[in-house]
Amino acid sequence: MDSELRELSDKACITGVGQTDYSKESGRSVLRLGVEAARAAIADARLQPGDVDAILPYVLGPTADEMAAQLGISELRYSSIIKMGGATFVACLETAALLIHNKVAKNVLVFCSRNGRSGARVTGRMNIIPGQSFRRDFENPYGFTVPGQWYAMIARRHMIEYGTTREDAAQFALAARKHANLNPNAMMHDRPMTLDDYMESRPIFDPFHLFDCSLESDGAAAFVVSAADAAQDMPHRPVYIAGAAQAKPAVSDDLCNRPDMFEIGLTRAAPRAYAMAGMKPSDMDGAMIYDCFTYVALLEIEEAGFCERGEVGDFVKDGRLELGGDFPCNTHGGLLSEAHIAGINHVIEAVHQLRGDCGARQIAGAERLAVTGWGDLGDGALGILRN
């Protein structure tokens, strides 16, 4: 099986990236934001809009049709929605590589655009979650209606089984905030945070307190995936999709009744992504971890294989996740401290790191980075990017 997976490795590269400013109130429509980010990504790859022949949009926001019409893309050969919630954009790495390798498309545009703070906030986006009748009949009547509450059940269970603490979760939040202060586009730039700030933040959905929770943001980001051979003649150092896989957990429409609450989509995707790349977790120079909530990020660190299950509390100690540590994570600040652009911003940051243009927040000598995705009721994806 591994040799079959290897077939897709390094066949496609991320050749262009673009993003807007991230804010609480963009003052623009999601269509305008999306077009801004897409134009920037296409220009970054030094392509013309007409060179794009496939679009993978997010389940919410502008459609492929709307984007193509605004961008002047006259011949769209392929578009589809990869519906994996916050795992979508890492999952799209696999889909884009498949499209390129199978010669369905030459240049694939992937984008996310949202007014997630000034427009429809999280409670307004719940009607796209799987298992609507379960949510309506057996959860919502008890005031159990949003992802933070669902994921709090997993976090609490992890605390029960493994003794994971708020101090452990703080390590992730503090690293993210420290990094955001090196990133001028981060919403939490110039907003330092101490351990005391974290510990004293007000409870939201206990065990989640305010600083365990991601931001709600307005903004857009986009990237372009092209064939590896074409990427050699493009302006930036190619960033190869060495490995990428997506997966659903068991009974993926219901988080509460899984026999093993910690076996998430990422648990199943990770071995395939490593096999495709011919690499192992210890080969990674750092990672961009989908961090809608701190404890979810901790669980992903375990399930992506960076430490054994139940040992993440020890793993995150002593500044390991910070720049200069053994395993720098979320150097942009992540969803916690840069912006919540559904995790596409994690892919963008990994590309900047592998191009070596991150300035003060550069991971020295970064050659291989992991990017994780987490969505809906535990969907997952792992991308392995290399330069």
């Binding site: 999280v122 409670t123 009748s133 379960f134 309506r136 009949d137 057996f138 959860e139 919502n140 009547p141 008890y142 005031g143 159990f144 209606t145 949003v146 933070g148 509450q149 709090a152 059940m153 997993i154 609490r156 269970r157 029960i160 007000r202 409870p203 939201i204 959905f205 206990d206 065990p207 989640f208 009974v251 219901d254 509460c256 009744n257 026999p259 609450m261």
Partner: protein, 140 residues
């Protein structure tokens, strides 16, 4: 009296889930059991999540369980719950049916009572408008 900001209610006319609410009206906790593999499951499905069989029946479960996990909501995100905070949402694993878990609120106890593995029993609780009987949980 009808609230101006009513809590969400189940749709008891749902043909797949509806029998559950007929059970709670009678003080019974009904779960689905698969006649092919013999396993129970929650929430009620039209096909067995364990073996895929469609040969399922509703059966009565003992209205008792233990606290598997929980969250305490301090910031309400649900209509009608603004005055309830802080409130607990429990995930209860039913006795004798491992893997069968139900969401409900803590009843007749303070938040301090919550602990992993705490035995609890069902409290059949009419909704504010009396249209359906919800299931909450109190320490046994």
């Amino acid at each position: 009296m009808a609230s101006e900001n009513p809590k969400p209610l189940p749709d008891r006319t749902d043909p797949d889930n509806g029998p559950f609410w007929d059970g709670t009206d009678a003080g019974k906790l009904m779960v689905k059991k698969c006649n092919a593999c013999g396993k129970h499951h929650c929430p009620p499905r039209v096909g067995c999540p364990h073996c895929g069989s469609g040969d399922l029946d509703w059966t009565e479960a003992a209205p008792r369980g233990t606290i598997f996990s929980w969250t305490v909501v301090h910031r309400a995100q649900t209509p009608g719950f603004g005055d309830e905070v802080p409130y607990a949402v429990l995930l209860v694993e039913l006795d004798g049916l491992p893997g069968c878990r139900m969401i409900g609120n803590l009843a007749n106890a303070g938040l301090d009572a919550i602990a992993a593995g705490l035995p609890v029993e069902a409290v059949f609780t009419p909704s504010e408008d009396g249209s359906v009987t919800l299931v909450n949980w109190q320490p046994a």
